[in-house]
Amino acid sequence: MQCANCQFHNMPGSAICGRCGTSMALATATMDVHPPRAGRMSMRLRRVRPVARTYYEARDAMGQAGARSVWLFGQIAPSVPPLPVTIRLILPGWSQFYVGRRVLGHLFLWSFLVLLLLGLLFFGRVWGSVLLGLAFSVHSSAALDIVAHDLAPGEVRRRMIRGLLVTAALALVLYLPAGRLLTAVADPQVIDMPVYPFLQEHDVLLVNHWTTPHVGQIVLYDLPEFTEADPGVGHHRTIVNYRGARIDRILAGPGDVVRWEEGLLLVNNLAGEWAPLNRLHPPGKATFKVPEGKYFILPSTTPGAHGRAESEMWRDLSMIPFTSIHGSAYLRSNPLTRWARLR
């Protein structure tokens, strides 16, 4: 009895093939020999997007991800310099000084410092961003110079990979936290409308978000939304909507009684020590008590608010909750010719 599968000659009477295990009674066995067929609709669907292929592609991609990470580690591992050198990568040129490449160290260090200083001077301007970006590039180049020291000049691909990794590491470890810190204590705010003579258009103010606001401080705050409808004449009707971020001075704190008479602002019946940024003289008479959790800030830098006599409007626009105050403006950094500390 010869096996149909492997042609092995089995002993007569064998039920299965002694070599491959195929049934000897297969020829006469009862079974369906007609294969399953795909329906017309499923064939069409498979042509549009084969689900199985999608699954296998995703599976293989996930499988390759592990291999890729191993490969990436292989790219990084030999390039990591000794710890003393790695620590000194924090400042461009420092590592070069440590390994004895003093000229290159000077070049990196001073170019970085110059660019950083200029970038900080123009912080808030486009040029400031460009200069800070260049300073970052110098830092990245200095780090790459150390990390890729073992590569031959022709190994462009590996150099590029290491460059990307070094840049990403510097950005994540150093520049992202530093940037967050900087914008927390010196957030540049560009003035979009003049506050004569105090602020002019395109002036840059630095705002510290970490200070606790107090009376007399110039702060960045959100104006409470207030809509004023002027009935106008005939068919003309004007609707004015006051809202948005403003910079102005805190004039009174919670519990203070604010009163103005004949253009004179009195806080707790005393002539106010502090004046708003714009010399604002609200007409008429009004008395308010500043509620708890709010500061009194006259919207003197809000165009259109001048000359209004409605006391409700002043009350609504001037009572600023603590939560709406974002920080104190302490420095006019740009233009450099008008550089001044705000008091």
Partner: protein, 266 residues
């Protein structure tokens, strides 16, 4: 003694019986081919060589109805399902067949091809490795190995395909290699292999048809027209070739063809 040739004698019973048996055997011999599983296998193979996969599949099934131990029938069924683009069914069927014929090289190769077409290249590689590791020299596992190389974009498939052609000199082997190349959009390589098939079997209409298809894919309309005409000369009722030829003569788009040739992938 020619004058006694026409004398009539009474036949004996035994002689009658012998002649009757001979007649029955002769009748059986005449009638047998249309019932024999070998006949159905041959018919299936012939249909396959005409590119009629649906009827080839039917004939393979008929052969298996008569004898389920025909591995060729099972392998043929799997191959036909793959040729018709029914990959999950082919994979399922190859698995079923492998339960009957464990570690059969061609069935393993069929399963590998079905898996590869489904996108599971990893599984296909394992199955193909098992197929090549089996005893015996079959061309089909090497064809599938070549296809896997093409699917993985590894430029070493030529070795596998050449090995398959060495093992089997049938013209169907280079033609199927051409079909594989065509499936993966490598029309130039497909044309080279199809030309080999045409050289081996210039009297086969299907070879010429496939050559025409490859030439059309490459945007070579004039050679495609010649190939299709040659196919129709050999087989005037070849519907696919006629349809392609009519399309070619009606939709002449030289600019489109030019760009197709220019930007063709292979």
């Amino acid at each position: 003694m020619t004058r006694f040739d026409r004398l009539e004698f009474e036949e004996s019973e035994s002689q009658k019986g012998v002649e009757h048996e001979l007649g029955r055997a002769q009748q059986q011999r005449h009638r047998e081919p249309d019932r024999d599983e070998r006949f159905w296998l041959a018919s299936a193979s012939e249909e396959r060589r005409k590119g009629l996969f649906e009827s080839a599949l039917r004939y393979y099934s008929r052969a298996l109805e008569l004898d389920k131990s025909l591995v060729t029938g099972w392998v043929g069924q799997v191959q036909m399902l793959i040729s018709m683009g029914e990959y999950p069914e082919a994979e399922l069927w190859s698995r079923k067949a492998l339960e009957l014929f464990r570690n059969n090289a061609e069935l393993l190769a069929g399963r590998a091809q079905a898996l590869c077409r489904k996108g599971d290249v990893k599984g296909a590689m394992a199955s193909c490795d098992a197929a090549i590791g089996q005893q015996g020299l079959f061309s089909y596992p090497w064809i599938v190995r070549g296809e896997l190389m093409v699917a993985r974009r590894e430029n070493v498939e030529e070795y596998c395909f050449d090995k398959a052609i060495q093992l089997d000199e049938d013209w169907l082997v280079p033609l199927e290699i051409g079909l594989i190349y065509l499936h993966y959009g490598r029309a130039a390589k497909a044309l080279t292999r199809t030309r080999q098939a045409v050289e081996r079997a210039p009297d086969r209409a299907y070879c010429w048809y496939r050559q025409g298809v490859c030439e059309l894919e490459l945007g070579l309309s004039s050679p495609a027209e010649r190939s299709l005409k040659h196919c129709l000369q050999l087989e005037p009722k070849y519907a696919d070739a006629r349809r392609l030829l009519e399309g070619l003569t009606m939709n002449r788009r030289p600019v489109r063809r030019f760009f197709r040739r220019l930007f063709n992938r292979s």
